[in-house]
């Protein structure tokens, strides 16, 4: 049976580079350790595996949508980049959010796939159409997708979109410009951002940068990096001066959703073998009882002179 080997489709080029640059990540991890808020110092918070990530600093975003234009162009989409929500032909979008207690003041919020460290979509997909590369992006293999949309149900951030209007649709979501990463380039949106609101780098380094910003400007930022632990941590990290809930970010706990199903899936072989064995034993037991009864009946018949069934 052709089972899929995880990670077999990753780019060799980048992996080699990632190995060479691994030292930088370690340094950054040490740095981040010294600045860490103790509560955040959990495993995904270090991000020391050298994978890439993005840091979106919402305080820097001016709402120019350069990232969306760049994304549309890099990925060959032709729809209007000014649309406020991601769609079947738009992988990232900038939403204008009016602040609840502050009429007239707005924030611009970028939305796209968060590229979870333990992605629910990939764990859910029955055919392995989605998978996380060691470099960070969660990518999609359109040729495998059967269109069950379990990935959409599974994603804690409501990210994957479906091309509903097409007879033969595909799932649509940001792939963190995995092909560009393979070529050694950074994602199109990060390259296009004029203010540095979206920056690309190793996740561990970005965490260090984010923590430093919070530490240097405690009056400016809410003391939280969204994506550090959400759903087990995501490759994309956000900084904000407004509580994330007010900007429409999902309240997501720190347990990666795949853990919930994994615990059950691990029991499947045991249950299968156990049930089969139990049923076989029951059947054997009943069979033995039946032949015993049968033998007794035969004896009784033999003992009854007329050969008639007793007690009919």
């Amino acid at each position: 049976m052709p089972t899929e080997v995880r990670g077999a489709r990753t780019c060799p080029l980048l992996s080699r580079r990632a190995l060479l640059a691994g030292g930088a990540g370690a340094v950054a991890a040490g740095l981040s350790g010294s600045l860490a808020v103790p509560a955040l110092a959990s495993d995904p918070a270090t991000g020391g595996d050298g994978s890439f990530g993005m840091l979106v600093d919402l305080t820097e975003c001016v709402g120019c949508r350069s990232c969306v234009y760049a994304c549309q162009e890099a990925n060959g989409w032709t729809g209007d980049p000014e649309r406020p929500a991601i769609d079947g032909d738009q992988w990232t979008a900038v939403r204008e959010v009016e602040l609840p207690g502050d009429p007239g003041h707005v924030r611009y919020v970028r939305t796209q796939c968060f590229h979870c460290l333990d992605p629910a979509c990939a764990s859910a997909c029955p055919v392995g159409a989605l998978h996380k590369t060691p470099e960070g992006p969660v990518v999609y293999d359109a040729g495998r997708c059967i269109g069950c949309r379990y990935c959409m149900v599974a994603c804690p951030f409501h990210i994957p979109r479906y091309q509903w209007e097409t007879p033969l649709p595909l799932v649509a979501k940001c792939i963190m410009c995995a092909p560009r990463l393979e070529r050694g380039e950074s994602p199109a949106c990060a390259e296009a951002c004029p203010t540095g609101a979206t920056t690309f780098g190793r996740r561990s380094e970005l965490i260090a940068v984010a923590r430093k910003r919070i530490a240097d400007h405690p009056d400016r930022y809410v003391p939280r990096i969204y994506g550090l632990t959400e759903a087990g941590g995501t490759s994309w990290l956000y900084l904000s001066d407004v509580p994330f809930e007010e900007l429409g970010f999902a309240s997501v706990g720190s347990t990666p959703p795949p853990q919930k199903t994994q615990a059950v899936m691990e029991k499947v072989p045991v249950v299968a073998v156990g049930v089969a064995a139990l049923m076989a034993v029951v059947r054997w037991w009943e069979g033995a009882r039946e032949s015993r009864d049968e033998a007794r009946d035969a004896r009784e018949r033999a003992g009854t002179p007329s050969g008639k069934e007793p007690g009919a």
Binding site: R149, P167, V275
Partner: protein, 408 residues
């Protein structure tokens, strides 16, 4: 009817098309109409795509077809494995007359589930992908395999009916010899499949209402499916006696009713225990669609039928049995709809009501299933006293027949 009979004059011996139609009766004609128009609706859905024909959208990636056709359909088909195991593994040969109808329901049920799934998949022609593209971490992968293997098993378990009907007795005997391992395989698939439909939802941990999201989902789905399956067989037995004049011993149906009551009681205990241990429950909430749905589902769909069936005098009343079985079946379907639709309402942030086409397609699939059952019931030996007796079982039955089966 009469008006139609007038414009095609009946011939002397040969029956005209109209007469054949009249013989079919209104009920079957209506089913045919639903099935055929629904078939057109299916073609339309495939040509136009999901967006143009359903009310599914990015906030509601799963809708009516997954909730009712797939989740509900699989639960109702559970009677097949329960009865097959009871008769062929647990040696309860008295229940043998119920085995064939139950297996047929299961078989047709799974075919209907596959039909619904094909409608729902964005790329239905790739439905075979899980066979070669493995992703064993995915619950959906497990579901896909269970559907495939168990549908095959059901086809096998059902084949003696067809083979006998076709007069292929040698093949029939060969099939029977392999029956026990196949029944065991069917039980394994069913246990996995029924529970995995619950496990499927476990990954939606941040999306589902805690009234339904529970670590016990796989267990709850399995137990409730067994109850629903037993309920379905009772409904079928009632239909068999009314439509096909096949009398099923009331004592047997009573046994099913008792089994159903036990399963419902177990389900209730698990559900309530789960709610209490997690500090949840409809009583902790203000009145809302969620709390009312959860309350009704458990009270009317599980507690009431369990109560009715737990009293011997009520269990002996055919009408009370029918009502209780119906309630249990509806209750389990309601649970599946609640789990997939109601529980995700708040997270979706938008309303979802299935489109007419979605309901129509479901109606057509159900109609086709009923017609399939009807055809088999009228043409093949579906209602027989001692089906699928294995060599050993046959002897056992023979020796016991005067005491048990035909005595009453």
């Amino acid at each position: 009817m009469k008006a139609e009979a007038r414009w095609i004059p009946g011939r002397s011996r040969e029956r005209s098309t109209t007469e054949k139609l009249v013989e079919l009766g209104w009920g079957r004609l209506a089913l045919w109409a639903l099935a055929l128009t629904g078939g057109l609706a299916m073609v339309y859905r495939l040509v136009r795509g999901l967006g143009a024909t359903t009310h599914l959208n990015d906030a509601w990636p799963w809708g009516w077809w997954i909730a009712f056709d797939v989740m509900g359909g699989v639960a109702l088909a559970a009677g097949a494995f329960v009865v097959a195991a009871w008769v062929h593994l647990f040696g309860k040969h008295r229940y043998a007359p119920l085995a064939r109808p139950a297996v047929l329901t299961g078989f047709l049920g799974y075919l209907m589930v596959i039909a619904g799934l094909l409608m729902d998949l964005g790329r239905p022609y790739r439905i075979w992908h899980p066979i070669v593209m493995w992703q064993p971490h995915s619950v959906m992968f497990e579901v896909a395999w269970c559907v495939m293997v168990y549908t095959t098993v059901l086809a096998f378990e059902f084949s003696p009916v067809a083979l006998e009907g076709l007069g292929w007795h040698r093949a029939c005997r060969a099939v029977r010899r392999a029956l026990v391992p196949m029944v065991i395989l069917g039980v394994v698939c069913s246990v996995l499949h029924q529970s995995s439909l619950g496990s499927l939802l476990l990954i939606a941990t941040y999306r589902m209402d805690p009234l339904w999201y529970s670590p016990l989902l796989p267990v709850l789905f399995f137990v409730s499916a067994v109850a629903a399956g037993l309920g379905m067989i009772q409904l079928e037995a009632a239909a068999a006696s009314r439509v096909y004049r096949h009398r099923v011993e009331p004592e047997l149906v009573e046994g099913l009713a008792r089994g159903m009551a036990w399963m419902l009681a177990l389900y209730l205990a698990l559900r309530l225990g789960d709610w209490v241990s997690r500090g949840q429950g409809p009583w902790t909430r203000p009145v809302s669609l969620e709390s009312v749905a959860a309350g009704l589902e458990v009270l009317v769909g599980a507690a009431l039928p369990a109560l009715v069936m737990s009293r011997k005098s009520w269990r002996q009343s055919a009408r009370a049995r029918l009502v209780a079985a119906g309630l249990a079946v509806v209750g389990v379907i309601a649970n599946r709809i609640d789990s997939v639709l109601v529980s995700m309402r708040a997270g979706a942030g938008a309303a979802y009501v299935p489109s007419l086409l979605e309901l129509w397609v479901t109606g057509a699939i159900v109609a086709a299933g009923v017609l399939g059952y009807d055809w088999v019931a009228r043409h093949w030996p579906l209602f027989v006293e001692e089906p699928e007796a294995l060599p050993g079982e046959a002897r056992a039955q023979e020796s016991r027949r005067p005491v048990g089966v035909t005595a009453s």
